[in-house]
């Protein structure tokens, strides 16, 4: 099960998750979603599934699966 499921079409590229991810696993790409917002990329290996990105996302674009917690 991937740690992060990201719905790019809900994302508005606000940058809050990028700012607060403690392991810097999230970056902007140059791709655009259907509304014209830049799409994010999540590094699933570096991610610790801490849930910070879910907590800061105003648009519920991120679902986090936390194993064994």
């Amino acid at each position: 099960m991937p740690k992060i499921i990201y719905d790019q079409n809900l994302c508005k590229a606000c940058g809050l998750c990028v700012e607060f991810c403690p392991v810097k696993a999230i970056v902007f790409t140059d791709n655009l979603n259907e509304k014209g917002y830049r799409v994010l990329s999540f590094n699933q290996e570096v991610c610790t599934a801490c849930g910070t990105c879910y907590r800061m996302c105003p648009d519920l674009a991120i679902t986090v699966h936390r194993e064994g917690r």
Binding site: K12, G15, M56, L60, V64, R66, E67
Partner: protein, 247 residues
């Protein structure tokens, strides 16, 4: 055992129309998480107000009533008095609650009305294009204070402090959403507020210092910094009134 952090049941699938980085989205989600976790989904009725969150009736997966500008506490009173064993909350902005609705909120709190008020304070009128709010800070530029707020427009209102002086108010707290730690604290305050209602202990209000990146002219991340560094100077965080031994 796996834990999944995803859209709460109390939110519909409808994407939020809010501006990028607007903390309305976080606030909506926290309220919905609390309602889910307290098992209140089927007995909660929400009252949407007039402001950017006017469409809240489309976002909460609950029975909702749409209230006229400022009148949500009165509408909520009507619902709660009609159905006392239901959970009733309002979701209001600073224009709705502290400007036109000041009479209604003071009296709902004064009556000790057993409702929960979620008060989103971003010190500006978002929906109508950036006019001054009662909570606009001194010197802050808005479309109706183009030179910055000055004493002739009055001084900003501290709603939590004011309402906490009322004997009828039970739980009054001010929180913010400017970083993950604050978001967790905010959720705790919202949960306390709903538990106060569930236990029939009286009126609860959580004031949430929020951002308006669009009308402040700041990026979403810079807007959060403005709340942390500037807004909290005038609007201190904390619990202004709390009943003994609630949680």
């Amino acid at each position: 055992m796996a834990e999944i952090l995803t859209r709460p049941e109390s939110l519909t699938q409808i994407p939020f129309h809010y501006c990028p980085g607007c903390t309305h989205g976080i606030a909506h989600r926290l309220v919905a998480e609390v309602i889910d976790e307290l098992g209140m989904v089927e007995k909660t009725i929400g009252v949407a107000s007039v402001g950017c969150s006017v469409l809240a009736y489309d976002y909460f997966n609950l029975d909702m009533q749409q209230a006229a500008h400022g009148r949500a506490p009165a509408v909520a009173t009507g619902i709660k008095r009609a159905l006392p064993d239901k959970i009733v909350f309002t979701y209001q902005g600073d224009g709705d609650l502290a400007s036109i609705g000041m009479g209604e909120i003071v009296h709902a709190a004064g009556r000790g009305e057993n409702i929960t008020v979620i008060f989103i304070n971003n010190s500006i009128y978002g929906m109508t294009g950036g006019q001054m709010a009662p909570t606009t800070l001194m010197g802050q530029k808005t479309t109706t204070t183009p030179e910055g707020r000055s004493p002739q427009n009055g001084l900003p209102l501290k709603v939590s402090e004011m309402l906490a002086t009322l004997d009828g108010a039970t739980y009054i707290a001010r929180v913010a959403l400017f970083d993950p730690g604050q978001v967790t604290k905010a959720k705790k305050a919202i949960k306390t507020a709903f538990i106060v209602q569930e236990k029939g202990l009286g009126f609860s209000l959580v004031e949430i210092l929020s951002t308006c990146p669009t009308n402040w002219g700041l990026s979403p991340v810079k807007a959060l910094k403005y709340v942390k560094e500037t807004m909290t100077q005038y609007y201190p965080l904390g619990e202004f009134k709390k009943p003994e031994g609630v949680l």
